[in-house]
């Protein structure tokens, strides 16, 4: 007897790497639930139930709530897509979109560049390099809140750190967090400081899978360091780089802790990113209907990125 239902092709390829092949039921047993299958359902039940209840249901509800005017958790008036219209025409939200684009692009480019430089520099597994990698990862493992708080102290005028650094250049009176442009630069710095080692780890795994013979051969042919990087490293690192790009973008587009703690979204909303605007609508202004509409829109955008992530994930498993 052949397998009854054609399986989801994406799932099939995703599964192709592991023991999952065994899901194909053999012989004539299809259609009858075996004890093993019942047991398996029991084993995964808590996982499925918890994710449905606390992730899938809230996401569904956010669409439902977004169609209403909400006053203190009471759905008072049906607005249809009125909340979406309010959101998209609100100057605060539009400004937050601009801020998010500037922040995400800036942080992504710098994080990736620095991460790549670190990965190249620390590629060899010497003891000193391993220690440096671990040290570089510390800003990533400590709390985001604490990291941003410490940077806020450094960037504040009271600490005198920046005055000491920039004083000799005649910029002693510089107040970084009070000017829209430098505040955005500080926000991007915060992201780069925290996440560059995360990019490094993702890229390092890719670097190590490049066979060293390729470099040796290129060297024999007289290729210089830059040429080797351009013609061997970059093409072979396509997948790890794309994975890092997508995962960093998902993070940067949504993150709100950096902006909330470091700049508070200011000055004059110049650093208020989408994540922070959403938080503000929901938890400070208590405009839950609009906040849910915004959350749903942001989630739709994330869905695109998550889709890319899944495709890359599948491709990597096929390669590996």
């Amino acid at each position: 007897m052949r397998e009854a239902a054609p399986r989801d092709p994406t799932a099939a390829t995703l599964a192709a790497g592991g023991a999952v092949r065994l899901t194909r039921t053999r012989g004539g047993s299809f259609g009858k639930l075996r004890t093993e299958e019942w047991q398996a359902f029991g084993f995964v039940l808590p996982l499925v139930a918890l994710e449905l209840l606390l992730v899938v249901v809230p996401l569904g509800l956010s669409f439902y709530y977004s169609l209403y005017r909400v006053d203190y958790f009471e759905l008072t008036q049906f607005r249809g897509f009125g909340n979406y219209w309010r959101i998209l025409s609100s100057p605060m939200v539009q400004a937050s979109l601009v801020a998010t684009v500037i922040f995400s692009v800036g942080a992504l480019v710098l994080t990736l560049t620095l991460g790549m430089a670190l990965a190249l520099h620390l590629e060899r597994d010497s003891r000193w390099n391993v220690a440096t990698r671990a040290a570089a990862l510390v800003p990533y493992v400590i709390s985001m809140l604490v990291g941003s708080l410490l940077l806020r102290w450094i960037f504040s005028r009271d600490s005198g750190v920046l005055a000491m650094v920039f004083g000799p250049f005649g910029l002693g009176e510089l107040s970084v967090l009070a000017d829209p442009n430098t505040a955005m630069a500080a926000l991007i710095f915060n992201a780069v400081w925290r996440d560059n080692a995360f990019a490094m780890i993702l890229l390092l795994a890719g670097l190590k899978s490049i066979p060293p013979q390729l470099y040796a051969a290129a060297r024999v042919d007289g290729a210089g360091a830059f040429y080797r990087f351009r013609r061997i490293t970059l093409p072979l690192m396509r997948l790890p780089i794309l994975i890092a790009v997508v995962r960093l973008l998902i993070h940067f587009v949504n993150v709100l802790t950096f902006a909330l703690i470091l700049t508070g979204g200011g000055p004059n909303q110049a650093t208020q990113t989408v994540g922070l605007a959403m938080y503000r609508l929901g938890f400070i202004d208590f405009r839950m209907g609009e906040a849910n509409a915004m959350a749903f829109l942001v989630f739709l955008f994330n869905l695109v990125l998550i889709g890319c992530n899944l495709l890359l994930f599948r491709e990597r498993r096929r390669v590996a």
Partner: protein, 286 residues
């Protein structure tokens, strides 16, 4: 004889120079990463009068623990305890529920397993901020907002996919034959998992547990959105409160930051190879 003589003076000098440059770069990386933390530590040890002194000094001239004393006098123990409870609870829940699901995925045959794996990977990449607003309303409707139980459940739900993934990858590397022996001896599946598989899963359990632990201990956005009253504040939410309360008084603020950071750094130093193995296996949100 066209090979360069490696012992000749210019060559030795070039190699030595390269070593020095490499070491300097490594040192710069460390300073870049640690600088803000060390500066915070230094500030937290200075008396208030010295904190605003210009030019600033890295080494406190008159070191004092007064800011830490102030924090513990004004009850920072409660948020620390809350954070510990929530972290321990979510680690335990994630490991128990995670190893059940991971075992089923690695060893049992059942329909729609591929779909389930696909969903787990998708769940790992959902960013939390887009969930905050609807989750808050949902929790408020079922009466779980503003409670440590609710927070623990949320952390478990958010980290369970990663825990399952790490454990699944680990169980897949353990030879199946041992389990067959146990099953033939009449062990149930559950007993096999508990008595044969889990004892061999040490490193996998540690890696999964570490991710959940650091996430729960560090999390700020979920906790600040879901809790409002004083007695269920976790440590990061308390620190955020201090930011409003102490304002420009950076002594207690940096002291609180250091109190929250030290346990993380200790755990990270002790277990860093588990972190790295887990990070490259594909899970882990940034």
């Amino acid at each position: 004889m066209s090979r360069p003589d490696l012992r000749s003076r210019p060559w030795r000098r070039r190699i030595a120079l390269r070593r020095v440059v490499n070491a300097l770069i490594n040192l710069t990386i460390m300073v870049f990463a640690f600088g803000p933390i060390l500066w915070g530590l230094s500030t937290s040890l200075k008396p208030s009068a010295d904190i605003l002194a210009y030019p600033p000094t890295l080494i406190p001239e008159r070191p004092t623990l007064e800011h830490y004393e102030l924090l513990f006098r004004t009850g920072i123990e409660r948020p620390i305890l809350n954070s510990a409870i929530v972290s321990a609870g979510s680690v335990l829940a994630c490991l128990v529920l995670g190893s059940l699901a991971a075992y089923a995925l690695a060893r049992l045959r059942f329909r729609s397993k591929g779909t389930l794996m696909f969903c787990i990977v998708a769940l790992m990449s959902i960013p939390l901020p887009s969930l905050l607003v609807p989750t808050f309303m949902f929790l408020a409707n079922i009466g779980l907002n503003n409670s440590l139980t609710g927070l623990t459940l949320l952390y478990t739900a958010y980290q369970l996919p990663i825990a399952v993934w790490v454990l699944y990858s680990y169980i897949a590397t353990i030879p199946v034959e041992l389990e067959h022996a146990a099953l033939i001896d009449g062990y149930s599946r559950l007993a096999t998992l508990r008595k044969v598989v889990l004892p061999l899963c040490g490193p996998g359990l540690v890696a999964a547990g570490l991710f959940v632990l650091t996430f729960a201990w560090n999390d700020f956005v979920v906790a600040v959105a879901m809790t409002s009253s004083e007695d269920v504040r976790t440590l990061p939410v308390a620190i955020y409160g201090y930011l409003g309360f102490y304002g420009r008084d950076w002594g207690p603020l940096t002291a609180a930051a250091i109190v929250s950071t030290i346990p993380v750094i200790i755990v990270f130093v002790l277990f860093q190879r588990f972190f790295l193995s887990g990070m490259t296996s594909g899970g882990v949100k940034s």
